[in-house]
Subunit: 218 residues, 2 copies
């Protein structure tokens, strides 16, 4: 892991509410590691698109994958993309509409999407993706076939031109508004998992392994 | 509300896994109404950006707002954007890595972002935004000032060039893999709220109103 993160470029420096910006790798990595859902922005025939997909981090890079035939994969190969990860942590209810807000953690990465072409590396990355979410699951699965591997594209971008933006805490109202008889506070929001649902088509007697029940969002 | 949604353009037609695509307004509207978090894609100096923000729907349009000084507002005014809303509903754990997936509901809208310039309409839209999340809250707040209204940009795009993409249900494994001794199923994911937290700086004795405790994600 790089210990010397470059200073933020103007493109990723948080412009509004600069105090909410963070550029250190510990903050950025913690947000990337807290949820797999990412939104990838790319330009295709001059039109911006935003496609949701799952991401995972390994050291200084973030990876995502998709069908080799998908528009998102076709339109990101070797091209400039933006990968954004956002966690909504709460609604902030203030005494004026203007100061309503949300608590959140987000990361924005800019970079060129590189394609992993070596099948062995591709398989290793996918293993790390599965095991990163559900430790130890990969080795218990029916092995991946060369055909499946070929049908899957794995892409990555460096954590290089990157910024985090965060808001925490209660409302920030105008000084004179604190005296008003208006309830203010935070309604926390959290992404949780519910108990696993067995596939009804599965062999009887199989129990969800610990790596499923043990899953937690960060 | 339009009863005749135009057929999907090639730009929004779901290309991969076509059976997951939906283009009817009931499906699209239900997803937009289920969570306010959206990711807006735009192009600025040739670079795609993806900015998280909150959206709300009124009839045939989706609205979002931001500081008039923000990059996202500056870079979307009158320009082509993509607004994507995604709900992650579960991890789908299959018997092979290849068939692992997620259950989700997403909507992608393409369109030109229009700025609302009339202050009265701007205020009405913001009222509908607040009251859409927390019914009745607006009228109990300290009124919005002309200065605050001026500092806030409200944008909208039509629900016109739009598509939904959804996956539900259990894993879809290869026929011969169902006989394997591998647990498969779904780990459901849900966004929930926790009990509201009073602002410690507020007047004592104020209780969170019903519109706060009653909030539910769709």
């Amino acid at each position: 892991m790089s210990e010397t993160q470059p200073p933020p470029t103007p493109r990723v420096r948080v412009k509004r509410m600069g105090e909410r910006g963070a550029y250190d790798r510990a903050t950025i990595d913690a947000i990337l590691d807290a949820t797999p859902l990412a939104h990838i922005g790319y330009v295709h025939n001059g039109q911006p698109f935003v496609t949701p997909t799952l991401q995972w981090r390994e050291g200084d890079r973030v990876y995502f994958h998709g069908s080799a035939a998908s528009r998102m994969i076709e339109a990101t190969k070797g091209l400039d993309i933006c990968l954004t990860v956002t966690l909504m942590d709460g609604f902030v209810l203030a005494r004026s509409a203007f100061h309503h807000s949300i608590n959140y953690r987000s990361v924005m990465l800019l970079g060129q999407a590189e394609t992993i072409t070596d099948p062995a590396e591709k398989e290793l990355r996918l293993k790390n993706f599965v095991d990163g979410l559900f430790p130890g699951r990969w080795d218990g699965l029916r092995p991946v076939s060369p055909k499946e591997l070929k049908a899957t594209s794995v892409m990555s971008i460096p954590i290089d031109e990157a910024s985090a933006k965060l808001r925490t805490g209660g409302p920030g109202d105008d000084e004179q508004d604190y005296a008003l008889d208006i309830w203010a506070g935070v309604l926390p929001v959290k992404q949780v998992t519910l108990p696993p649902i067995d596939d009804p088509l599965g062999k009887p007697g199989l129990k969800a392994p610990a790596h499923v029940a043990g899953f937690r969002f960060g």
